[in-house]
Symmetry: D2
Subunit: 409 residues, 4 copies
């Protein structure tokens, strides 16, 4: 075989549920499509159960399994720690890894509280001084259509921005019989729809516009406050098994099933002002029946508008308002041309990408940044900024929806 | 000719601009498509200029012209007064007509202030006791797709309602060079996007859900505060002449053009709670470039969801969440079947209707109610209720977006 | 009232079913929206039954009723004869009217056979020499989006044309229990889907491209050969009453119902070559379940492409292939701008039109041509040319789908 | 690590261009998502240039490189030969592999001629008797939406089928300056759009309907007959480099560039009859500007209809004609539910798949069949049947579009 004289980059990943599976596919695939300056090596997978972690490592392509994340961090063959656990463990793992001199890529939301996020951001800043880097994994930035949207806004194609409307709509807990999974528990998840998917909407909106949310006015709601306890702490995949849409019922879960209290939001709505003067409208909910993973965003500027819906992730709709009115209209750009972000690495035009590719792109950008010794984005400070928006949303909702400035870092 | 022994119903209309033209088409057409119990007669048109009113009467099919609306009301051959003027004259004309024993149909918003709307609603209640009826013309209720949406919600097809998101997006003043037409002056129009199109969004949302907005948290904004004075007090039609999209500019209107101050909102955003527990998100703007007349509304319930966009007004999208998940999806119902509201009167399936038909339906319902001696809907009290929502929006926006209950009648 | 010193143009219309109703609405409305050089007067309506014709005249706004079309033609107050009857009577009425010096507008297809169409075209040519004009009513040419498509092709925006794919899809006879209405009888209708809707597809394709179909290869099929006899010779409107989609059955119509033979095509497919070198694919069917009135056409040229579907009649989709690939995509032009064909007469942008407006536009163009003494289009020769295409389709289908040139006039 | 005691299945792949890259991704990924009974091992990659093949093997994850496909076949660690070369070498490689006792998966179209395809099918039949299996890689069968379409047709949800319209539209050679790549040369590619993409349309239509095309009437055309010679024998990827849409020109390629003759079709249109009575309309072209990879298919049956477009590959549109007409419409089913074909292996609902996943599914089905000792589908006989359809298309086009039966095997 041809010699591959690139240096290697050893990866250790913690967690192998939904996020761990998709990160694994990204690590497995990235080298076949992008010409990286280093060769990523899937060194070790961290989990709690030895048996399950070992099986997962084998299925997902990791060379070893560790049952204590501290051991994973300590491995000599690990230079990067990829954190795919629920939010309650992010701070501890990330800070330890950074202090151990390992680069970190951490799933979003950065943490379950502003305090934790601040500690993480501080650790990342300190590590950066030692050439150790950290990134928060807002994968939707790496949807080619969203990256293209940002590019076009930055180029001035939209002119002065007036409106942003962003929604992240799902429906997997609309059925009251759906169980009390960890994502519905504040202790594990930090918040509900707000932190899980609203965080994506906020980051995507700030990313595309290049502006920050300055303040918000918010409402949150928990529609179903008691749910059956889940036998196993299941994730999104519990949907199929336990809540067939066909069995949607309006009443409370019946029978003698043990139940627990949902102490996070089912939905969060907020309006706000961006640093550059645009108005924003946001909504995150898991009760929008029929919307499966609808991260939708529209931006209206004086020179043009953009619209995107993740359910048709290969399309970006663009209205060029500088054209004569008789010629203008929203155009469906299929974001698979070689000139589009990330697209040249893949297939010919019209041969679309899927959800997992956003992670492959993210890993590619992360690896390139680390190899070049520059800070990957979004940084932990960026993640902290999103966390502060979420905190402002919760504060406003708790204070009669009063307009609440997002705290400056 | 065949004898037409139906009683006649004489109509007098005030105003012949945009609204007057479309009302005229409705009055001209309604009898050919609906089997009315009375025969409407287009008796007289009221305006200010004798020459212009006379010409308009001839072109639009009115038998006579009056230059003082008081004379129009006083005519013996007028039993119905149709008010198509700007909001600042609604109260005076409507109250006078009702007191003169004439039925009234009045364009929306009902008035430019809650106080005026209250006076009108009081007059309408008093008149009803004398068998004289009043209706506010929220024409979008008579879009067949919207009427169908209401029917399906009322039938329980959506189950418990969780979310309403309603937007009314236009772009005709996105160009700062667009002139200061009457719709941008508080004295004439009462408010900006809020009252002109936001009122429709509010009424449509309340109509479809059968619920009332209980309270709101709001932001409003005027993006362009100085505009060139309009040579002629133009309406929407000024768009084409003075603001070609191709000339969209970001800066202020240049040159030595005399300008005036825009003292109404360019955009209004609000979130709120409905009486039945649903959350609502609303947006009204004339700065959404590329959106021409996008009254969009989505409703998510536990058993299903609906979506509508007036730019495709013959379509209602319905997700039936009681189907197995593998079979479900938003379905595009083309609302032209004989069983759909109003549709049997028109053409075969798939042969769509246009904007003006909503007024024909409105007139049909109004005439049938008046002929039957029952109160047409929406009533002036309904119009007042919308006015109170608009007032709550403005109050919240002026009070740091604080959640503001809508005043009860 | 203001004097209207325009000359009048007296109209006599024959037939008051589906086509008669929509033509009446056009005659009633045209003057309120377009500034015509003459004033159309709805003088008389022709039908067979005195009672029914008189009632229809009253409802539809015609001043008089005639029960013999010869009497209608002979009236001094009739200068235009509008023929809205089935195809088997077109030739006789049209030729008599033209010979009597009356302008003629005749519904499509021009006739039930090439021979009849030739006689009509000859009569029209002769009449033109005497200043008497004839037009065949291919209303879809007056859909603003279709007129815009033609304009753009003529301007060269599509470059060299390579492909045309045109379909006219309906589903109103998919149910075998749907009765044997006149449109399913060769003696009355001439052909089935081919002449009724395929004719529109052919005319629209030729109109947009500015090219003629040079030859075709065809298949036709009658899926349901026996149908229940219709109690009343119903039109499309029989759909709702007798063939609810919910009752769709696959088997033959059951019971002791008397049946008759369908001797026209249920569907016609053909491929062909245009005079300019483009390839064409055509399909006309009434068995495309779920497609209600889907006249769809796509044109691909070297510099761009167009797509249209009548079920969203206010939209024209345009791909500008001269843009950089990364910027390009099909754009949804909402054809309601003042600069768009016919649109300035109606409502502001985004306030769409409906099916009937195509007839209002057609009448407007017809009246203007007649008043100016110029030949309206499409002419009877144009109608004959379409008829020759239909004949070539039937000839090819009868001859093993062999490529069959369209006969030159 | 956990022991993986599954037997291994050694794979040798020939060709590493577009198809080779996507097959590699499938082989790399399949085990992480599907629980296979054997463990595929990417043993060796075959190519012509030692250097290039070795580099490709390293990048794509193959353990070894071979520069003679005969050596690849002969390897002891290869049990499966995956053929990703142009069509002119399929027969030789496939037959040799089968005779050597290796299972074969071969890209489509099966061969460049019916004679070659017959030889291959005969070899496959003989090999099957020895437990050695062959499959032709019509990957679009493994689009979840297309597999779902087949399932629903097979379940009777569409009733009696009346219409199939299938198009495969691309635009990558619309520019006359695009070079003469191997896909435009009969010797290498066999035919043009017909075999490359039309073959997919035919296979997909037959797969979904479960019916065979019985006969066809066809037109083919070569719009651009001379093209610049390609410096390197490029594939689809030449599009970006040499034919920016922005430079689309109508004239011939200018300058002193050496040119060659295109001797395959640019476009093929045909209509036909299916074995079960449905009518079919087909079109394959690379000149449909703006359509990037639009494999579109609609099927209309008596009880319902389906519509699909690969450019939105995660969606299947279904009209249920057994619903009341007022409730019915095409519904957009997002084919990502656990109950949908292949979907349970991937991500939660609404998290769509991309082009490459169709190959992963194909490989999964192939491996499972081979491991179980059953014949994978589509078989070489299925591929031969498609080849006979293509031959009938070419025969009809050469014979005045005469209806030409597809030869029975």
């Amino acid at each position: 075989m041809a010699a591959d004289d690139r240096p290697t980059l050893g990866i250790g990943m913690v967690g192998y549920a939904f996020m761990g599976r998709v990160h694994s596919q990204a690590w497995r695939s990235v080298g076949a499509f992008f010409d990286l300056p280093v060769r990523p090596v899937m060194a070790a997978l961290g989990g709690r159960s030895k048996e399950a972690t070992t099986a997962a490592a084998r299925d997902l392509g990791w060379a070893a399994a560790e049952t204590d994340w501290r051991d994973l961090i300590a491995r000599d063959d690990v230079q990067v720690v990829d954190i795919c656990t629920p939010g309650d463990s992010h701070a501890e793992i990330a800070i330890a890894a950074l202090e151990a001199g390992k680069h970190v890529i951490c799933e979003k939301p950065l943490a379950n509280s502003v305090a934790e996020a601040e500690a993480m951001a501080a650790a990342a800043r300190a590590a950066a001084g030692r050439g150790v880097h950290a990134m928060v994994a807002f994968n939707y930035r790496r949807v080619p259509a969203i990256a293209l949207a940002r590019r076009w806004v930055a180029e001035g194609r939209l002119g002065r921005l007036h409106h942003v409307r962003a929604q992240y709509l799902q429906d997997w807990i609309a059925d009251p019989a759906f169980p009390l999974v960890w994502r519905l528990q504040r202790e594990r998840a930090g918040s509900g729809a707000l932190g899980d998917i609203g965080a994506h909407a906020v980051d995507t909106a700030q990313f595309i516009t290049g502006e920050l949310l300055a303040g918000v006015s918010a409402l949150t709601e928990t529609f179903v406050t008691e749910r059956p306890l889940a036998g196993v702490s299941a994730g999104l995949s519990a949907t199929g098994a336990t809540a067939p849409a066909g069995g949607a019922a309006d009443g409370p879960a019946g029978g003698a099933v043990a139940t627990g209290t949902v102490d996070v939001d089912d939905a969060a709505l907020f309006i706000g002002r961006f640093s550059g003067g645009a108005l924003g409208s946001f909504e995150a909910t898991r009760f929008a029946t029929g919307r499966k993973n609808a991260l939708r965003i529209e931006v209206n500027g004086s020179r043009g508008s953009l619209a995107f819906d993740f359910e048709a992730m290969n399309e970006l709709w663009f209205h060029d308002h500088t054209l004569p009115a008789a010629d203008a209209g929203f155009r469906r750009v299929i974001v698979t041309e070689a000139e589009h972000p990330y697209a040249a690495a893949w297939w010919p035009p019209g041969h679309g990408l899927g959800y997992e590719h956003t992670f492959t792109h993210e890993i590619k950008d992360f690896v390139e940044a680390v190899a070049a010794g520059v800070a990957p984005v979004p940084s932990f400070d960026d993640g902290l900024r999103v966390q502060r928006v979420l905190a402002a949303v919760e504060a406003s909702a708790a204070d009669g929806s009063r307009f609440t400035p997002v705290e400056e870092s």
